[in-house]
Symmetry: C2
Subunit: 355 residues, 2 copies
């Protein structure tokens, strides 16, 4: 909050209205959601409602707690009155047009100023305590996968596999999956954001697993591609290319490097091998209080440079429609001397050793 | 889409930019997300990206498909050029201020017009096919609960119960829980939006279960409160009050009734029994492609009237901090002659019959 107040000063804001629930959680520790935070000259004000009355109580040392009785818009409008309310920053990347219009009606259009990514920029750089939480989430998802592997066999549906894997994560304390688990059997692996269905795992066919855990609000995210038995030929050919792209990109991670440059390293390897058209998504993304956050590693976005404390995925893939796909994803923290891999599960075509 | 075009005509919009992924799903059938729909004088345009290339293909009869190569903002800006682009409606309750500002920069502020809830108003009224999908989701969650009940015993943690229940739903085809399952053991039941943790179920103590399933995109949502053994006294006292409030409110549901009126019926019963301060949330909410949608049954919101085809929850509760809570929730469809209950699981203090 101290750092944020400095940023607010630079923008000549008397107040900042924090409406992103994750930013509220980051700044206060309250991750319940549905609550807004007002930062102004005095004590921060956490505006919540009846449902969280008991939970927000423990944050009263840090913030003034307001349990609103009317709509959030009305409550915020009332709290943002008075002489010292000069210029209220809103989170333009979060607040909807309808909310902004309501606020402007209540406090005057001139008092409302759009801000962009103030808190997200801070959130992108993790401190050691946050990295420890992500590491724990990684550990949960890796242990869950190890428990799952012996149960993978032909005839099991994708949904059953997803259900088992998510149960293994929940049993280890992950409140929910970091995102909807992807279990893509056989040719389904060619759809980068496939949702599991009734397709059954089959012998000598690949299965792509993209899964993640959450520990105390912090997310992890990994992908592995396995086969049940032998690798079908086209998949066996693309696996080493994806692996090489992954390793080369991860090895290039360092503070000051451009994120699009890192993306390009992997993309060039895949393109040189003749699969440039089969890798359509970005190379990776930051992880933290959400599964996708800053920094983005993408060829579409330039201008971002890696910093010490950034935590991001590296996840190149090759997708062959009608055949299947390979994606290999780990989570890395940017340190002064390069990337540290937060994952310990190997990326190997022979996963019998993991059983 | 035909109905929506009529509404657009009334607002003198040449185009509508649909950015709510659920509205896009509702109008086109494509529920993959991350895709925008442009409705204009010609064919609708579905703007998606590489990840969904294969999936969106099947919607090409209905829409022109554009797989964007650059950012969504740039792609939309390019598509919304030309003489026939006069006035573009945006979804003010969904679009962020930052997105709107970008769009206004690209096509001119005067061409951007805020609209509110155009598609949501249509979505609130379900047709028989949609009701059948919600009914199926209800069936999945009820069968999952029946499978869970015999495993409830003292010593099991809330997280373990949640994990089992969610696995039972997934095994029955619910892609993911309708929302984060609430398993609130003992005194935790007093927190209306509690998240399951390591608290263990205990003999002669209540456990509140609020859970839901999804079937083909459609959500269901129910709550039951059980006890393991005998009911502790304060909980035994409030259970019948909550049940009475539920039944009275459900019996009053009918087309043309004000939603705040229905809320008041339950609220008055709870207040008369002396627990007015212990029921802080609204009585219920619409369900459909999301867990919370129109219509809201709340004392804070007036002016909404029930219509035939609305599907909503009724979920009064009484919450006693430090002691526990009771909430009882079913899903109802508004029919010409009143509410039809989509749930078949009884609300009973003696659940031994369900085992």
């Amino acid at each position: 909050m101290r750092k944020l107040r400095e940023a607010m000063g630079g923008l000549e804001l008397s107040h900042l209205l924090v409406t992103n629930p994750l930013d509220v959680g980051y700044l206060t520790g309250f991750l319940g959601g549905d609550s807004y935070l007002i930062l102004g000259p005095g004590r921060p004000v956490l505006v919540s409602d009846f449902r969280y009355q008991e939970e927000v109580g423990e944050f009263s040392d840090l913030c003034e707690i307001v349990i609103r009785k009317r709509s959030m818009g009305e409550a915020i409008g009332e709290l943002l009155t008075g002489e010292n309310v000069q210029r209220v920053g809103i989170q333009a990347e979060i607040m909807t047009v309808a909310e902004r219009d309501q606020l402007a009606k209540r406090i005057g259009t001139k008092r409302v100023a759009a801000t962009l990514g103030l808190v997200m920029k801070m959130r992108a750089v993790k401190d050691p305590a946050e990295i420890a939480l992500i590491r724990k989430a990684v550990k949960i998802q890796e242990e869950a996968l190890k428990a799952l592997l012996p149960t993978l066999e032909p005839g099991v549906t994708e949904l059953e596999v997803a259900s088992r894997l998510e149960a293994e994560m929940k049993n280890r304390g992950s409140s929910k999956p970091s995102f909807e688990t992807i279990i893509a059997a056989r040719a389904n692996g060619s759809m980068a954001h496939y949702r599991p269905g009734s397709t059954k795992l089959a012998a000598n066919q690949p299965v792509l697993i993209d899964w993640g855990a959450i520990w105390q609000g912090y997310h992890s995210d990994m992908t592995r591609t396995f086969t049940l038995g032998k690798w079908p030929k086209p998949i066996a050919e693309i696996y080493p290319i994806v692996l090489e792209a992954h390793q080369a990109a991860a090895a290039a991670i360092a503070p000051g490097k451009s994120t699009s440059e890192i993306d390009k390293i992997a993309r060039d390897i895949i393109a040189k091998a003749g699969f440039g058209d089969n890798f359509g998504h970005g190379l990776g993304h930051g992880i933290g209080l959400q599964t996708h956050e800053e920094p983005r590693l993408s060829h579409m976005l330039t201008g971002t440079r890696l910093e010490v404390g950034h935590v991001c995925t590296v996840e190149p893939g090759i997708y062959l429609p009608g055949v299947g796909g390979v994606r290999l994803e780990n989570d890395y923290v940017v340190e002064a001397d390069g990337a540290k891999n937060l994952c310990s599960l190997p990326m190997t075509m022979d996963w019998s050793t993991l059983r």
